[in-house]
């Protein structure tokens, strides 16, 4: 009896283990076996389980919403980066397309020229208000020399004022130091196109009886030994006969948009225009 009292827990657990195994054995071998305790327990717990499931599903929805929100934020950020990259790419492609068009135009213009010509890119502009010059990326090493003519597909740009080894400065036709021997296409009246201090462009030294009218096109004469004959300089926008004496002057609007110049052709004195402007 003392043995039983001292080992009551071991004996109880041993008995319970045997009961468990017996119960398990019966329950797995008797399929129709229905545990009455289990059914009562199910009925008791069912309402509580419903409430807990509801809480669990609510918590699950909150969690899913949070995860979705984090995902949406990440997706949004990725899409924004993608849009920015695509916009940048679009900008680059647009720029390439415009550059391609300009270069094609320059090439077509080059085909109209006979003689030596060098393509060059404008890399800098004169920041001062008194002089009108640009810098190109070709210099003495590319056979660029002082005095060579600089042209664009639309017409005269200016002439090389100074050339270093790798770059050259172009004096634009609107610079007050510039002078181009030119003729009016319609009447063949001759004069000198010069820049003004204010960036304007004038055709000076026209004889008083020369036939010059607004809208006339002004071309290079080719007599200065710098510019090929027949290159468009600009268009007469105003004729001035205020001056007394033998001469008259005309205000000329350059045919080239000099403030938006990007590529030019540098030609030497031997170059000639095969096909003059219509």
């Amino acid at each position: 009896m003392e043995f039983v009292r001292r080992n009551r827990i071991l004996l109880t657990t041993g008995g319970l283990l045997l009961v468990s195994l017996l119960l398990y054995s019966v329950s797995i071998r008797s399929q129709p076996y229905r545990d009455p305790v289990g059914q009562v327990l199910l009925d008791t717990l069912a309402p509580f389980q419903a409430v807990f499931s509801l809480i669990g599903r609510g918590a699950g929805r909150v969690w899913s919403g949070y995860v979705d929100l984090v995902g949406a934020r990440r997706d949004n950020q990725q899409l924004q980066e993608r849009v920015a990259a695509l916009e940048s790419e679009l900008l680059r492609l647009g720029e390439l397309e415009r550059e391609n068009a300009r270069l094609a135009e320059l090439l077509a213009f080059r085909a109209r020229l006979q003689g030596i010509a060098y393509g060059a890119r404008v890399i800098a502009r004169d920041p001062g208000p008194l002089s009108m010059t640009v810098t190109i990326d070709r210099g003495a090493r590319d056979q660029i020399r002082r005095g060579m003519a600089v042209l664009a597909p639309q017409g005269v740009v200016g002439q090389i004022g100074d050339a270093s080894h790798t770059a050259a400065r172009v004096v634009l036709l609107t610079d007050h130091n510039s002078g181009i021997d030119a003729i009016v296409q319609r009447s063949r009246a001759r004069g000198i196109v010069q820049g003004g201090m204010d960036g304007s462009c004038h055709m000076n030294y026209l004889s008083r009886d020369a036939d010059v009218a607004v809208g006339d096109r002004v071309l290079t004469s080719g007599l200065d030994g710098i510019f090929p004959k027949g290159v468009l300089v600009g268009e007469v926008v105003e004729v001035s006969r205020r001056h007394r004496g033998l001469l008259q002057a005309a205000v000329v609007r350059p045919s080239v948009a000099l403030d938006r110049l990007e590529e030019v052709l540098v030609v030497d004195a031997t170059a000639q225009v095969v096909e003059p402007p219509a």
Binding site: R8, I9, L10, T12, T13, L16, L17, V19, S20, L21, L22, L23, Y24, S25, V26, S27, I28, Y33, D35, V37, G38, L41, L42, L45, F48, Q49, F52, S53, I55, G56, R57, A59, G60, W63, S64, V67
Partner: protein, 166 residues
């Protein structure tokens, strides 16, 4: 009486949580701490009476009834845990939180192994042991994680009855 009430509440809450809350959470897998194992370890540590052993059996039986497994399987596992915890704490000093956490982890693993072994013995388990054991390890770790809180609850409500833990 107060301890029994608290244990009853913990058991009821544990059964509800194990069968509902964790399964509703959208974590893909559904690990759930075996809260009843924690209660069983508590009984093994603090209730060295016939009533404690019977309570361990009842815990397992309740789990069987709720979980839908064949009756007696979890009851067997719980009684095994109770017996081993009882024998362990008669020979080892198990009183600080860390040792209890480790004991819960080991007890949960042991129960899983015992349940699988009995199932296999009776030919009721023909699945793969690897994935089953790994998921049971996760459940054991979760049980060990919640063990300090549940021990604090049940110890706080405990009156000086039965043999104290050594």
């Amino acid at each position: 009486m107060r301890t029994a009430a608290v244990i009853g509440l913990v058991v009821g809450f544990g059964l509800l949580v194990q069968t509902t809350l964790f399964h509703a959470l959208p974590f893909g897998v559904h690990p759930a701490p075996d809260i009843l194992v924690v209660v069983c370890v508590f009984l093994g540590l603090h209730r060295h009476t016939v009533g404690g052993a019977v309570a361990a059996f009842v815990l397992g039986y309740l789990q069987d009834a709720v979980s839908g497994s064949a009756a007696g399987l979890n009851a067997f596992g719980m009684v095994v845990i109770y017996l081993l915890v009882y024998l362990t704490c008669r020979r080892l000093w198990v009183d600080n939180v860390l040792s209890k956490v480790v004991l819960v982890f080991l007890a949960s693993c042991l129960k899983s192994i015992a349940v699988l072994a009995v199932s296999a013995l009776f030919g009721a388990f023909d699945g793969e042991w690897g994935p089953t054991l790994s998921s049971m390890m996760v459940n054991a770790a979760l049980a060990a994680a919640v063990a300090p809180l549940l021990f604090a609850l049940m110890t706080g409500a405990r009156l000086p009855e039965g043999r104290p833990a050594r």
